[in-house]
Point group: C2
């Protein structure tokens, strides 16, 4: 007797777990629909170089990659953006711009070190291609918030923390960060608030090659924090005014959309991935208990790198795992199964035949119907009906068949109604 189990880090979705997943997916799809995004999908397995070429170092270290039987280097997709960029690039000419697409891929990562951590999750990906203006940035932030609101979360629960790599680049260059060390600086800054300042200072010095004065200036920028404070201190620095004005326009649009209370500027949001080029954002629970629920931003150069087609683009990914934890924490995960509309109980063998006929008719009308697949006592059948969440129960016995009338019992209220069998 063999005893099998799932691989470490992979989830089984029993019907109750699946129902929660379906609840989240349904909010994602409904928000995307309201915003006019179309669903697409790509393969869960891609050529390894799709990821090694252009993604950030962190993604590549965690790749679930292998050599297939044909000697090809392949990887289970760790993120959707490279697939998205590949697909858009292949048909860029014929697709109407801006392209508004979304997908709900299962993503994979392999970390040898961290046991107990999931190696797969589902992620809602929403992207717009072909639009440079900040109205597009506001649009993707808004659709992310729409889904969270559909799930019952409010301004009191979640916050969008947002920055702009173009602004930060101007400020960091001003602080003395060499142009070719910006990514190293972002990577160090990305850890702010999560690791000791001392460690970040050290990384800025050793990895980004900054002198002590530059490090001090970098820390000053991040301590100012507020957009207005940055404006006061740095508006005259070359290129900064333009970036501040762009961010101001973004916030005006977000206000127009009624979402101002959800969104806040935070210069420490830089995002780990190398390919971001503009506004970047993450969504967190306000209390700061959970990891980020969602992260995204503008990646205006990735499409050209992946597919040779130069088009501005932006989007985000929202995973199912942290979101589910937050919903559970707020009591926002619906309980109980779907149940069924009818349970038809049969007294004897002849009535079982009637039940099959009636069940087929009700099902073809769109009702969900269950009945016992084997002969059973009426009491056992009623117990089964109850356990399976039947909303209405009908008992069919010889009398009912003779008279052609049955009693339909509403389980929630106990109300009973006589109905002609052929009208059921």
């Amino acid at each position: 007797m063999a005893q099998h189990s799932s691989l470490p880090g992979f989830r089984d979705f029993y019907p109750r777990d699946f129902a929660t997943r379906a609840h989240i997916f349904s909010a994602w799809r409904e928000a995307a629909r309201r915003f006019g995004f179309e669903e697409y999908d790509g393969p869960p397995l891609e050529a390894l170089e799709l990821y090694t070429d252009k993604s950030g170092e962190e993604i590549v270290r965690q790749l679930y990659n292998f050599v297939d039987k044909g000697g090809r280097e392949v990887a289970l997709r760790p993120e959707m953006t490279p697939t998205f960029a590949r697909m858009v690039g292949a048909r860029a000419g014929e697709l109407r711009k801006p392209i508004r697409w979304f997908s709900i891929p299962q993503l994979f990562r392999y970390e040898r070190t961290q046991r107990g951590r999931l190696r797969e999750h589902f992620q809602w990906n929403v992207d717009i291609v072909g639009e440079e203006g900040v109205a597009a940035d506001a649009e993707v932030v808004a659709v992310a918030l729409e889904a969270l609101c559909l799930l019952g979360l409010t301004e009191a629960d979640v916050v969008v923390r947002l920055s702009d790599r173009r602004l930060m680049e101007r400020l960091l260059l001003h602080a003395g960060v060499p142009a070719d060390q910006l990514m190293a600086a972002y990577a160090a800054i990305d850890k702010l608030g999560r690791v000791e300042e001392r460690v970040i200072r050290e990384r800025l010095e050793t990895e980004a090659g900054l002198g002590p004065a530059s490090v001090d200036e970098v820390f000053r920028i991040f301590r100012l924090g507020e957009l207005s404070a940055l404006e006061g201190a740095y508006r005259e620095v070359e290129g900064v005014a333009e970036e501040l004005d762009r961010l101001a326009e973004f916030f005006r649009i977000v206000d127009d959309m009624g979402l101002g209370g959800f969104v806040t500027f935070d210069p420490t949001i830089v995002r780990g991935l190398a390919y971001y080029t503009g506004i970047v954002f993450e969504i967190f629970d306000r209390q700061g208990v959970f990891r980020a629920i969602c992260g995204g931003g503008r990646y205006d150069t990735l499409l050209e790198a992946v597919s040779g087609v130069s088009l501005p683009a932006l989007g985000f990914g929202m995973g199912d795992v942290v979101l589910k934890e937050l919903l559970a924490d707020r009591g926002l995960v619906p309980e109980g199964g779907a149940g069924v509309d009818f349970y038809l109980a049969a007294v004897g063998e002849e009535e079982r035949r009637v039940v099959r006929r009636v069940a087929s008719r009700l099902r073809s009308q769109g009702y969900s119907v269950l009945y016992s697949l084997r002969p059973a006592g009426v009491r056992a059948q009623l117990k089964d009906a109850d356990a399976r969440g039947a909303r209405r129960v009908v008992v069919v016995g010889p009398d009912e068949v003779r008279s052609g009338e049955v009693v339909v019992r509403e389980m929630a209220t106990g109300a009973e109604e006589r109905v002609r069998l052929e009208e059921l």
Copy 2:
């Protein structure tokens, strides 16, 4: 500039392709709902031995397997039944029987030889666990047919071909097939109609070890074909009467369900997989143009083999690829995208702000709404509205903002209605 493409045998689902896939999935889910089946899912990656232990030779030859970075032998799932059996086995005690579950996994296979063939597909899996009687077999056949009917197929389009391994075992033993060569005999018979009789005869002799007289008897059984002819010739053979009666009961139930016209006995249906133990079936297009749309059957011993829990079980898998080909052939694939409920066009910058406010309100009411993310002429916006399938268009200019009234134009009819902006 790197140019990437998807791996051979893997599909990209652009929005139009995704819509067809969603149309099929939606029929699968609706049929399952009507029959009271609950959705589950398992990991796309499983331990290799889950498949090598118990599945048929054909599945294992085509496994998409590899060694992961932790040195573990793993495989992308080639079929769902082993995962299903593993999951049910792990919680068999607490799950209400009969268990009625379904899933829509993406499945994978790797064949080195056949280029151009798909290496992934989606498959609707429906299973019942804990019920021995043929009413359960009828139930799974019926839910498969419900989905096909929801997609617009009829008795004129599809047929369920069905046999019973228990009956065939009795007949083959009678014909002189050794008990330990039954699987080899099934594997040879499975090719009937697809390869020359001479080849099958040879396989029965060499692989199943039959003498010429036994081979003749095996061919006689399959030539008789009809259940009534088999009854006339073999009813007196030990154990055959019982099996014939069971099949007769199955057909009576299918008739009660109004599905008699869909289902026909066919002794050549044996199914490739080793684990089937009772009624087996495949669904084909009547004209015999396509490969099987669906295949399944009873596998009463698999759960014990996989999980140590002894429970009768049965189910089927229906793939998306052949089904889509058949639907396309019959003109049953819906054309056109979902479109959007509203397209809001703005004349100037001030009206763009109004449009954002109105769009947010309409979206929160459940409407799908698009507007231009950049300033554009009204003509360009109306063209965009048309291209994106907007059902209603509203133009907001200075006059509309002043008067507080807009004109809502229904694109299908050209009908126009004046509506107060705040009531939109």
